[in-house]
Structures are given as structure tokens and as C-alpha cells.
């Protein structure tokens, strides 16, 4: 196959010798943006992925849906029996529901970061994986949003959080960290949904024209809002995407900072710390990037999107993951070093509990998952380019980050200042609900891939249009042209 294609005028000179031919083939194999097959073939591949769920994938989807329904049944039980049915007690009033909230908001962070920050900084890696990452955000946020409601004993009163004029003569207190949280998460959800929708418009229009199925055509016609791809629409599209990218990055930082302030604004030992905001953000990005790696592995394996999601993308994400692991270790060490040096009795109680006490097995398991596994393995190029091993590492990090949140909420909270109030937390009903929540996210992720092309072909097409090969001396290398 020659590098010259009809649709790619930038790649002009065909290779002259066998050596050059080899170099070119090597580059094309490595880089998606140097390997154009034409928009038509790409569109077919991306649209085909919507119907490429095999028998096993569908069985997995059904099982996941069943598990998600199990969580619904569990919630019903709790509605009838009351919150007392859970393992929550008077000292540990926040249990796995709040752990899940923090965890899912955490993995919801990477999607927007990869999409928005990579866009602002001009990282080409984002092109094929941005939508896959944003979708993680979308459903992780949906799951996270459920948990404060599940945590309410009387969820039908959730609208009391919303500032609407009312006959109750009650008004939400905006001085409360919980109210900031509601506001920040609402802003983030609205921003994320609109951001993913704006990016989808051109692909929905493409799907509208190509699909042969009647209900699909109607769905895409309605959703694509009559997108034609005129130069004015594209100019607006570029600008609105840039505005969203610049706005949504600080919003993303604020969301997890405010989640951390839910904790840090109390005087609970182990929580009352100024470092909590950035520490939570780093933790969120860490678990979020790992979650995106899990999703990329799923897509490549189950939807056979090997053309789009290549080893180079896994490599970049794995490097990002390694950097985030260093950042997380740095913050965690800083947090504990200050505690240890300060040597305040209530805080030392918690440190002893984690390092040598009853919670030590969980703590050391967390250190193994979050520090030993990623730092020990990710420095190897061969590991970074192996989706299978990366998948396992990413799952380890999920376990580690879940444990980290579990230790903060489920263990530290049991050691308040007064020893009289010491307590332990044994989750019961929360466990099936948490399993259901994980299933919920993966279930809807798969269902989303049935309805929507999970690869943004216009972004990949643009990238391929901008990239080309040139010869310097005897080496063929890639270059990028700047259109603006």
C-alpha cells in the first residue's frame, strides 16, 4: 500500500527505496495519524463498532444489567426498612455510599481532563480516545450522583437541596459544604454532558447519512440538529469546544476540591487538612486515568477497535498514569509526614491504626496496589504497550484507590477526638449496592457504544489531514502542519 491517498494531499512523495518503504510501514504501524485509510473506511469501522458486540459481550451486558437491578432492589429494601439496615452507626455516619460518591466522581475526572486539557495543550493522542474517556465521565458521574440520594434516608425530599421558592419556608444553606458540592457537581454534569454532545454532533450527522436502519436514522436526525459541516458551523464548533475546554478544566478542579472539603471542613482528625483539595484531585486523576485505560482495553478487545486505539495511545496514557502515581505518592507522603511530625495524639491514633493497627492489612494492600504495582511495572516500555497487562494494573489501581477512600471514610471516621465515640464500620447492604453501581457504569458504557460511535472519526480525520511524512537525510519522519 502506498502512502499516497486521494484524500491526503500532504503525503506527496512515494517512497523511493526498499529501506524507505520499510520505514514508512513502520511509522504507519505505530501511528494512527500517519496511517490514513480514508474517511469512508474509518466511518465504516467506527459505525460498525456499534453492531460488533459479540455473543459474549451481550451476555456480559445482560449480567451487568442484572447486577445493576440487584442494586435497585437493595435500595428498595433500604427504603422500606430504613438506613439502620446498613452498617452505618452514630460515629461512622458516612459509609460506602459516600465512598462510592467520591470514587465515581474521581474516575469521572480523567475523561474531561484528557479531552479538555489535552485539547488545550494540543496533544494529538486525544483524538481517538477523547470520546471513550468522556463517556467514562458521563456514566461515572451518573453513578456518583445517585449515591447522595441513596444515602438519604428519605430520598423523596432530595429537592429540598434545590433553591426553588417554596411553601415550606425553608431554604438551602449556601454556607454548607454539602450545598457547594451539589452546585459544583451540577455544573460539572451539565458541562460534561454538553461537551460530549458538542463533540458528537458531526459524528451523529455522519451516522445519520450512513445508517441503513430506520430507527437509527430517525434518532440521529433528531440528535444531530441538522448538522451539515459548513465552514461557519465548524468555526463555531471549534470556538465553543475551546470555550468549554477552558471553562471545564477549573470546574473539574473545583468539583473534587469541594468533595474533599466535605471532609476537610470538619475537625475530624485525619480529615482536617489543607492539603486535602489537591490531594483529592491527584487521586481522582490517578484513578480516572486508570479507568480510562480499562475502558480503552474493553473497546479494543470487545469492539475490535484496534485500528483506532493503538499501542501508542496505551503508551501515552500509561506514562500519564505513572506521573500521576508519583504525584499521588508525593501528596500521600506529605500528608502523613506532617501528621507524624506533629505527633498530635488524636491524629497519631489514626496513623498507628493504619500503619500497625487493625486497619493495617487494608492500608498495606492499598500501598501495594497504588505504589508497588504501578511504579514497579509502568517504567517498562513493553508493559506500557501491552493492553492486557495495563488492564490488570489499572484494575489494581482501582482497588487501591477504592481502599484509599474506604480508609478515609470507613476507618478514620471511627476515631474521633473522644475515645468514648470510637467505632468500626461493617458494611452490609452497601456491598451489593456498590457492586450494582460498578455494573451500572459498565452496563451503560456498553449500551452507549450500541447507540453512538465511540470513536470521533472527524477528529481522527482532521489529525490525519494535518500529519504527514517528510524525509530528513536518510530518515523518514513525521511532521504536523498548522492550519491556523
Amino acid at each position: 500500500m502506498s502512502i499516497e491517498t486521494e484524500r491526503n494531499p500532504w503525503m506527496s512523495a512515494p517512497p523511493e527505496s526498499e529501506d524507505e518503504q520499510e520505514q514508512v510501514e513502520h511509522l504507519r504501524k505505530d501511528h494512527l495519524l500517519l496511517d490514513p485509510v480514508g474517511m469512508e473506511a474509518m466511518n465504516q469501522d467506527a459505525l460498525g463498532s456499534m453492531t460488533r458486540h459479540g455473543r459474549w459481550t451481550w451476555m456480559l451486558i445482560v449480567v451487568l444489567g442484572g447486577l445493576a437491578m440487584m442494586a435497585g432492589v437493595g435500595w428498595l429494601v433500604q427504603l422500606f426498612v430504613g438506613l439502620g439496615f446498613t452498617g452505618l452507626n452514630r460515629t461512622i455516619f458516612w459509609g460506602m455510599y459516600i465512598i462510592n460518591l467520591v470514587y465515581f466522581i474521581g474516575i469521572g475526572h480523567a475523561g474531561t481532563f484528557i479531552s479538555a486539557a489535552f485539547r488545550v495543550m494540543g496533544f494529538e493522542t486525544r483524538r481517538p480516545i477523547a470520546r471513550a474517556a468522556e463517556t467514562v465521565t458521563l456514566f461515572a458521574l451518573a453513578a456518583a450522583g445517585l449515591f447522595p440520594i441513596i444515602h438519604l434516608g428519605r430520598p423523596w425530599k432530595v429537592y429540598w437541596m434545590i433553591p426553588i421558592p417554596n411553601q415550606r419556608q425553608l431554604w438551602p444553606n449556601f454556607q454548607s459544604a454539602l450545598e457547594w458540592d451539589a452546585m459544583a457537581i451540577m455544573t460539572y454534569v451539565v458541562g460534561s454532558v454538553l461537551f460530549i454532545y458538542i463533540g458528537l454532533l458531526p459524528d451523529l450527522a455522519m451516522a445519520r447519512e450512513r445508517t441503513g436502519v430506520n430507527w437509527r436514522r430517525r434518532l440521529y436526525s433528531a440528535l444531530s440538529l441538522g448538522w451539515r459541516g459548513t465552514d461557519r458551523q465548524w468555526a463555531l464548533h471549534e470556538s465553543v469546544s475551546t470555550i468549554f475546554a477552558y471553562v471545564i478544566i477549573p470546574v473539574m478542579f473545583s468539583v473534587h476540591t469541594i468533595v474533599s472539603w466535605d471532609f476537610a471542613m470538619t475537625i475530624q482528625p485525619g480529615w482536617h487538612s489543607t492539603i486535602f483539595g489537591p490531594f483529592f484531585i491527584v487521586g481522582a486523576l490517578y484513578s480516572g486515568v486508570a479507568a480510562v485505560l480499562v475502558a480503552m482495553g474493553f473497546l479494543r478487545r470487545f469492539l475490535k477497535l484496534g485500528y483506532f486505539i493503538r499501542e501508542e495511545h496505551f503508551d501515552v496514557m500509561a506514562k500519564f498514569l505513572l506521573i500521576m502515581s508519583f504525584a499521588w505518592i508525593y501528596f500521600y507522603f506529605g500528608e502523613f509526614l506532617v501528621t507524624w511530625y506533629g505527633n498530635l495524639p488524636p491524629e497519631m491514633t489514626i496513623l498507628d491504626l493504619l500503619l500497625y493497627g487493625e486497619a493495617a492489612p487494608l492500608w498495606w494492600l492499598m500501598i501495594f496496589c497504588n505504589v508497588v504495582v504501578p511504579v514497579g511495572l509502568l517504567w517498562m516500555r513493553r508493559v506500557r504497550r501491552n493492553p492486557g497487562i495495563l488492564f490488570v494494573i489499572a484494575v489494581f489501581i482501582q482497588v487501591g484507590m477504592y481502599l484509599e477512600r474506604y480508609l478515609i471514610v470507613g476507618v478514620m471516621l471511627g476515631r474521633p477526638e473522644l475515645p468514648f465515640n470510637y467505632s468500626w464500620y461493617y458494611p452490609g447492604l452497601e456491598i451489593p449496592i456498590a457492586i450494582g453501581a460498578f455494573s451500572f457504569v459498565i452496563f451503560f458504557y456498553f449500551i452507549f457504544t450500541v447507540f453512538v460511535p465511540i470513536i470521533s472519526t472527524w477528529e481522527v480525520g482532521e489529525g490525519q489531514f494535518l500529519h504527514g511524512l517528510r524525509k530528513i537525510g536518510r530518515k523518514i519522519t513525521k511532521f504536523k502542519s498548522d492550519m491556523h
Binding site: E6, R7, P9, G38, M39, E40, N43, P163, I164, P165, N166, Q167, R168, Q169, L170, W171, N173, F174, Q175, S176, E179, M183, A184, T187, V190, G191, L194, I198, P202, M206, E209, R210, L225, G226, R228, G229, T230, D231, R232, W234, A235, L236, H237, E238, S239, V240, I243, F244, V247, I248, P250, V251, S254, T457, W458, G461, E462, F465, M483, H484
Partner: protein, 345 residues
Amino acid sequence: MAEYELLGLFQDVDSAGDAVEALRQVGVSDRSLRVLSAFPLSSKILGRKHYNHKLGLAAGAGALLGFAAAIFFAVITPQLYPIVVGGRPLLNGPPMLILVFELTMLGTLLGGFLGFLWQGGFPSAGGLYDKRIAEGYLGVAVQVDEALLEKVQAAYSAHKPVDLKKAEVKPRPDRRLLIGTIAIVALLAVNFALLAVSFDILHLEFLPDQMKAQISFASQMGPRLGAPAGAVPVPGVALVGGRPATAPLAMTEDSLQRGAILFDIHCAVCHTVDEDEPVTQVASFFPDDGEPPAMTSARVMARTPEQIFTFITDGIGKMPSLAENLYPANRWDVVNDVRSLTPAE
């Protein structure tokens, strides 16, 4: 005069750009020209004028609205529904800043998105399209009236389009202004309705006024609730009309034993048993007022059990009330103990 829309398909950027230039030369205005592509191409590549859109303005307006909403929520509404703050200020800066930040950002996002919809003309059903555009072909669309039609068609054919589509433009009223106005009016109406409900101008019977409807009592106001099952009774009042509310306990051995222990704890700091015993440390504080009487003195022996009970409960002279120290039943134990004492021979 009838208007026509034409869409020419081109295989690459160069020929599309040339076609745009040719069309402009035959008198097609830049406004009625569009280039359709599968991914963004800058106006310079297509040889077009820079498109000055007002998206920044829309986002800025949204930000201002969001900021105003935040100030309304953070500063004005807390004063409409004041909460009990225990002497602390009702409005605080830093929490207000957080709300202002979030709502300003939300306003920016919504303003940007609505501006995008408005200026992009979404949702729209009009316009020629070809599915090959999503496959990488470029479309050049123009809208011209009949007079220019032939020249334009010639300009197209000169650049060898892959395909040329033609359709008559049916005039379609622009309903965006109408829809926008209706949306704003509807929003305002909903807001005013909610405010009317809030201030009881409009009272909806089916919406329970939860604060007013619930049963509430001022402090100490009856009727008293019954004791829940399994509650442990606490001792009731000790005195009724100045006399003990309970009957004296029988002088059993248990009672006497308890009384002796309690006497040593609560009474013996001041009172001796025999008059001959040396005065206690406490008694030495009252050299002029007379010492606390010994328990077997004539003064004490003359008192009835009820009187001693009353003295323990209320105190007398310099003696304080011991009601906090002793349950009524235990006071009777102490009384029994005092009654059982006899002067030393």
C-alpha cells in the same frame, strides 16, 4: 424571483478552494457561500473571509447572568429566608465566592452552548447535503437567484465537480426569535409563579405547607407525651406542700445499712454522732453560729422523721440542700439511720 441552492462536490481542498474563488468572481457574495467538510478547515485554507462570530459575547453574557444568579442566591435569598446563626454573620464571604464561581462557570457554559445553537442555526432541517461529505469530499454550497444561476453553474463546471446538486429554495420564516421569546417569557412566568407560591400570594391547597402543617409545641407546653415502652421511671417530686411526698421506709436491716453508708458520705463531713466527739473540720468554720448539731443531741432527737427528710431535701440554716446528692428513697434510709442512733452511755 426564484432562489436556488447549489451544492458541488469536490475531491480535494485545492479544487474546492478554486471553485470558491471562481464563484466569488461571478458575483456570489461571501455570505451566501458555504463550504461543507468532514472536519474543520480554516477559512484561510478555503480562501474565505474570516467569520466573525459572537460566541465570546454569548459566553460572556451567560457568565454575567450566572454571576447575577449567584449573587441573588448567595446574598439576597438568605435574607429572605433567614436561618438561626447564633450570633454569627448571616452572610459570609468565602462560601459565597464558591457559589459565585460555580454559577458563573455554569452560566458561561450554557451561554456558550446556546450561542452555538443560535448562531449555527441549530436545529435546522434546511440545506442540501451529500453523504459523501462525511467521507472526505468537500461540498461548496451557494444560494443564488435566477439571474446568476447560469454563470454560477458554469463556474462550477469549470472546476469539474464530482457531482452538482440543485434545488429551489422555499422561503422559510426564521422562527428562532419567536421561539427564544416564548422560552424567555415561559421561564419568567414559571419564576414568578414560584415566587408567588413562596410568599403565599398564591396558595396551593394541594401543596402541604410543611412547616405550618406539622404538629409543634412550645417548650414545656402540654399535653405531655406518654412514656415510651420500656422507659425507666425517674424519682418524682420529693415534697408536696412542704411535706414529704413519699412514706418513710420500713426500718429494715438493708435500709439501715444503706443509711449508715450514705450518712458517712453525705452527712458526717459536718455532723458528729455524739455530742462528746470533737467538732468536725467544717464546724470550725462557724465558731459563732453554733456547731452543726450531733445526731444524738436533744435537738435532733426531738425532730420527727418527716422534718429530717425535709431538712435533707431543702436544707436549713447553714445546711445546704442535699437533694442533688440523695434520691428521696435514700433520704429515708438516712433518716432511718439517724433514728436508730442512740447516745453513747
